[in-house]
């Protein structure tokens, strides 16, 4: 099988073979000789189960993080009396994103998808939509593999690490993956899925990684529900056949360049941005004593 290193190659392979992204992705993995379709599906199922466990545990837990800075936001969102203007599925996505992220900061079991700091985004979008729309487990696995293929193609260009590319490479990529999974489950075409990815990524370029006290808490926890909804926006626009004028591969190039131009002070070093605000410095004095 020819190499698939870009979204363009993925798109044309899908067209040529008249296959979905997850089908081509599974064929490609198998052709690389390391992971059979069975193996990839098994890992996807294992990850999906672990994602569901983390949501379930997180929804019922209010244990604060070791720093004491976070851990009760999911509970607050579940108990709010304010009427949601987004509707029940997006609100569920926000709850699930918070539930997973809060489990993460408690050093609980989560799935790095693609990273731990961004662990709430893909599960929230995928599982909340699947629950509310009777999506079968097999289709959920297909959606997760679609998301994985998106992450793989970005990772071929740049490392998915805040210390290398800023938060755009973590929560940004997670959001693009979630947009792909969601558009797949909604029955979107290959073109619509790829546009959802481009729209999601294009609109988070430059997102920095400036965690307060160096902990995956502020702003990471709340960024997960934000970027879950960002994925929904991308999918909504793409399903309306709205096109990213900059093709996805060029958006990825732009993201890589933006990551290189970003100061190391804003890349997971906690030496700038939110991490150096007056309040952050005060928190640091209290917590890291």
């Amino acid at each position: 099988m020819d190499n698939i290193n870009t979204f363009r190659q993925l798109y044309y392979t899908c067209k040529e073979k008249n296959k979905a992204i997850y089908e081509v992705a599974l064929d490609y993995e198998a052709s690389q000789g390391e992971y059979s379709e069975y193996h990839v599906r098994l890992q996807a199922k294992k990850s999906l189960d672990a994602m569901k466990d983390a949501i379930k545990t997180g929804l019922n837990c209010t244990e604060p993080s070791p720093s004491g800075m976070s851990g009760d936001d999911c509970d607050k969102l579940q108990k709010t009396s304010a009427k949601s203007i987004l509707g029940s599925t997006p609100q569920k996505m926000m709850k699930y994103a918070l539930a997973t992220s809060e489990q993460n900061l408690r050093m609980g079991r989560i799935v790095a998808c693609p990273t731990a700091g961004s662990c709430g985004i893909v599960p929230a979008v995928l599982i909340a939509f699947a629950e509310d729309n009777n999506i079968s487990e097999n289709e959920q696995i297909n959606a997760l593999i679609t998301a994985g293929e998106v992450g793989r193609l970005v990772a071929n260009k740049m490392a998915l690490a805040g210390a290398v590319g800023g938060c755009q490479a973590e929560c940004g990529v997670a959001s693009a993956m979630a947009a792909a999974a969601l558009t797949q489950m909604r029955g979107g075409s290959v073109k619509q899925i790829i546009n959802a990815v481009a729209l999601a990524l294009k609109n988070i370029l430059g997102l920095t990684c400036d965690p307060v006290c160096g902990l995956v808490e502020i702003p990471c926890v709340k960024r997960n529900p934000f970027l879950a909804i960002h994925a929904v926006t991308a999918s909504e626009l793409a399903m309306a056949d709205i096109i990213s004028k900059i093709p996805i591969d060029e958006v990825v190039d732009a993201m890589e360049q933006t990551g290189q131009l970003m100061s190391p002070l804003l890349k997971e070093s906690s030496q700038g941005g939110l991490a150096k605000t007056k309040t952050a410095i005060a928190l640091e004095k209290n917590i890291l004593k």
Binding site: Q32, V111, A155, L160, A161, E217
Partner: protein, 222 residues
């Protein structure tokens, strides 16, 4: 270099909070443990740059120690690793350093015991890792392949003898990386293979003249 797989992106299942700073740290520790392949008396961990600056908050120190002790990335005991009997059975210390010639997430493991070994590595993103140096030799180890590390006298013909012996096991060589400290001095070979080697093959490698160190470094399971 090996390309990312979908599996790398949608896994691992891990104890939080950071794939590069927690799971990556555990995996670096596990692979360094496979390199050292013995119980050390003492391990000194040198953490650099982002690992040094934000490592404590991300449990990087806990992760590195957990890996060296053989805990897997999804083990929820990592949170309280310092209190485990395993951790209390060895001596360890941490140093936090800045060196912008090193990767943002770099670490040195200094093992002391029957043999002294220094292993250096980077956490390169999404839990993926790379060991870059073993003692003074450059290596390129991602933990994705079973790998043979050899240290020997830099003399003509060694590479061909080594690949000949490996061929007897009918395994494919995925990559071969050589380095030396100087002409006619110590040399190293790092051979990644598909599949597994027999004990007999490893014995034959050890029996080669001028071979100092033969290490079979098993790939990481997760």
């Amino acid at each position: 270099m090996r390309q990312a797989s979908i599996i790398d992106i949608i896994s691992p299942v891990m104890a939080g909070p950071s794939s590069s700073h927690t799971a990556g740290a555990v995996r670096l520790g596990l692979l360094a443990r496979n390199v050292y392949n013995a119980k050390p008396d003492k391990v000194t961990f040198k953490l650099y740059n982002s690992y040094a600056l934000t490592g404590k908050g991300h449990g990087t120190d806990k992760g590195l120690l957990a890996g060296v002790l053989g805990f897997s990335v999804d083990d929820e005991r990592i949170k309280n690793i310092f209190d485990t009997p395993e951790a209390q059975s060895i001596n360890y210390e941490f140093e936090f350093l800045q060196d912008f010639n090193r990767h943002p997430n770099a670490v040195d493991f200094i093992f002391e015991g029957g043999l002294n070994f220094t292993v250096s590595g980077d956490s390169v993103g999404a839990g993926e890792i790379l060991l870059t140096k073993i003692n003074n030799f450059s290596v390129n180890l991602s933990g994705k392949y079973n790998t043979i590390l050899l240290v020997y006298d830099d003399k003509p013909g060694v590479i061909s003898k080594v690949t000949g012996i490996i061929q007897e096991d009918k395994v494919n060589i995925a990559s071969l990386y050589c380095d030396r400290s100087g002409k006619g001095k110590d040399a190293s070979m790092c051979i990644c293979i598909d599949g597994d080697l027999t004990k007999n093959c490893l014995n034959n490698l050890s029996d080669l003249k001028d071979m100092y160190i033969v290490r079979y470094i098993r790939k990481l399971e997760s």
